[in-house]
């Protein structure tokens, strides 16, 4: 189910878990606001990770925590420090892309 959400003067489409469903609606202001909602204050390093995962998403490359650890952008420990608890879920949410899923 897709719902509309108002965020920093923009209307975005999100699913029931709050993930954006249309990446074309994303901009850095929205990313910043989504980060705040998830209790993350963004630094240049955070943005570097977000840019990396958005690039991989655009290239249709499936993402995993260990893949990000091998990306050269951050190692896994740093990734957890930047986005605590469930880093991939939080980072993909801020990046405006779907969370990594299985087939069901």
């Amino acid at each position: 189910m897709i719902m509309l959400k108002e965020l920093v003067g923009n209307t975005i489409d999100v699913n029931e878990e709050g993930f954006m469903t249309d990446f074309t609606q994303w901009n850095t202001q929205i990313g910043e606001a989504l980060a705040t909602e998830n209790e993350i204050s963004m630094t240049p390093k955070h943005w570097e990770v977000i840019t990396y995962i958005q690039t991989e998403y655009k290239n249709n490359v499936p993402l995993s925590i260990r893949k990000i650890g091998k990306s050269g952008v951050v190692d896994i420990k740093e990734f957890y420090t930047l986005f605590p608890n469930a880093p991939l879920k939080t980072a993909t949410k801020i990046a405006g892309i779907p969370k990594p899923v299985s087939c069901i």
Binding site: M1, V61, S64, A86, L88, K89, K99, P100, C103, I104
Partner: protein
């Protein structure tokens, strides 16, 4: 005599075998040789590895000679490839042999690598830590399960992507059934540990299927990114400090593409080959195509996917030979039976754009199979599929009503 060109298929598993059978029907034998190479001479029915540990299938049910599934016109080379030299259009083999190709089809599959996680293949490997993604692993686990007295059973996925993403969940369901029948379910605590956000990750499937875990009393630990296995204290640890103890760990180690991909510098960090998700042409070179688990495309690594891909790839190889434009026809279609135990199964049908939904399959409005719903008929479908696999699918014989592209008819969106 006219010089013949060569289509070389690397790998004679599900993907390579289907492709050889497809191509031989249409490619002009006066102009083309078809060669297929594999390191072994045994074809494994990999979906059967799920049943082997529980004694539902025997060893003979899941292995047959590769040669018996290949047409006589196709040359089978039983050698291990060591390097693909894309600029020279050659594949080198460990024996020193090399084969020139005009078109290369990479069908080298994926395999597990337990050395990716610290401690996974340590002293407890195949003592209290098992996999069921290899023939040897599934056999070893069968012996373990036959005598195991119970305790904490942890079913675990290391990282995505994995071959047949639902198999670990099916394993958990079948384990519940297996220990129930042995009258010792109360002695076994089953926990399912996943790096994803849940056992089910898509909204429809979550809504329809979450009851299964409760009904079968299976605990779940989600968002678990494993860092190491502690052999001494028998536990798995994740990067955030979470720890899950086990008496018996059944893990799906990191899945990777073939070593020959790595040695040839053609793959990503997991040795999967960058491939166009619609045409199945590799991004390495126009005359290299990729089929099945060896690709990096965002769909499931599964036999049904390979089967659907093969139909599209076959058309594109013919188009390539005729110097026509390739068609981006592959839609990510997958169709999988999911065993839920106690003689029942689910069936799911999905593609790049549509998550698994309810409905009927393969005939709209009729079935007889029901999508995203447990039934006995689906279980019989899964068991019958082994016959379909050996006798129809590998030989590229059309399966009635089942199309390469996902049909939207008879489904509830």
């Amino acid at each position: 005599m006219k010089h013949k060109k060569n289509i070389l298929i690397l790998g004679a598993g599900t993907a390579g075998t289907i492709m050889a059978n497809q191509l031989v029907k249409e490619v002009d034998p006066h102009s083309w040789h078809i060669t297929i190479a594999d390191a072994t001479d045994t074809h494994y029915y990999q979906p059967g590895f799920l049943f082997l540990p529980f004694g539902i299938y025997d060893e003979e049910d899941v292995k047959k000679p590769i040669r018996s599934f290949l047409p006589d016109e196709v040359k089978f080379v039983q050698e291990k490839a060591s390097e693909i030299k894309s600029e020279e259009q050659q594949v080198l083999f460990e024996s020193g042999k090399n084969i020139h190709y005009d078109i290369l089809i990479i069908a080298t599959g994926s395999t597990i690598d337990s050395s990716e996680i610290e401690g996974m293949n340590g002293p407890e490997w195949r003592k209290s830590i098992f996999d069921f993604y290899t023939f040897e692993g599934a056999k070893a686990l069968r012996e373990k399960l036959a005598t195991w007295g119970g305790g904490k059973l942890v079913v675990h996925i290391t990282e995505m992507p994995i071959k047949c993403p639902v198999a670990p969940l099916e394993f958990s369901f079948l384990a519940d059934d297996f220990f129930g029948k042995k009258g010792m379910r109360d002695k076994v605590d089953i926990t399912y540990v996943t790096p994803l956000s849940g056992a089910f990750t898509k909204p429809r499937a979550t809504q329809k299927l979450e009851y299964l875990l409760k009904e079968k009393n299976i605990n779940i630990v989600s968002d678990f990114a494993i860092e190491s296995v502690d052999n001494e204290n028998k536990s798995i640890k994740d990067y955030s400090g979470k720890e899950v103890p086990f008496d018996l760990l059944v893990t799906v180690p990191t899945n990777k593409g073939s070593q020959v991909i790595e040695k040839s510098g053609l793959g990503d960090e997991l040795n999967f080959v960058p491939t166009d998700k619609g045409t199945l042409q590799s991004k390495v070179s126009p005359n290299i195509f990729v089929l099945g688990d060896a690709t990096n495309i965002p769909t499931s690594k599964a036999g049904s996917v390979t089967h659907f891909q093969a139909e599209i790839l076959f058309e594109n190889v013919l188009r390539f030979i005729r110097k026509e434009e390739l068609l981006p026809e592959f839609d990510g279609h997958a169709n999988c039976f999911i065993e839920t135990g106690k003689g029942k199964a689910l069936l799911i049908d999905f593609n790049y754009d549509h998550e698994p939904v309810e409905g009927t399959f393969p005939i709209a409005g009729i079935g007889p199979l029901r999508l995203l719903k447990e039934s006995r008929m689906n279980h019989w479908g899964k068991l019958a599929f082994r016959w379909v696999y050996w006798n129809m699918l590998l030989k590229a014989r059309p399966i009635p009503f089942v199309k390469a592209r996902m049909s939207l008819a008879g489904k509830n969106f």
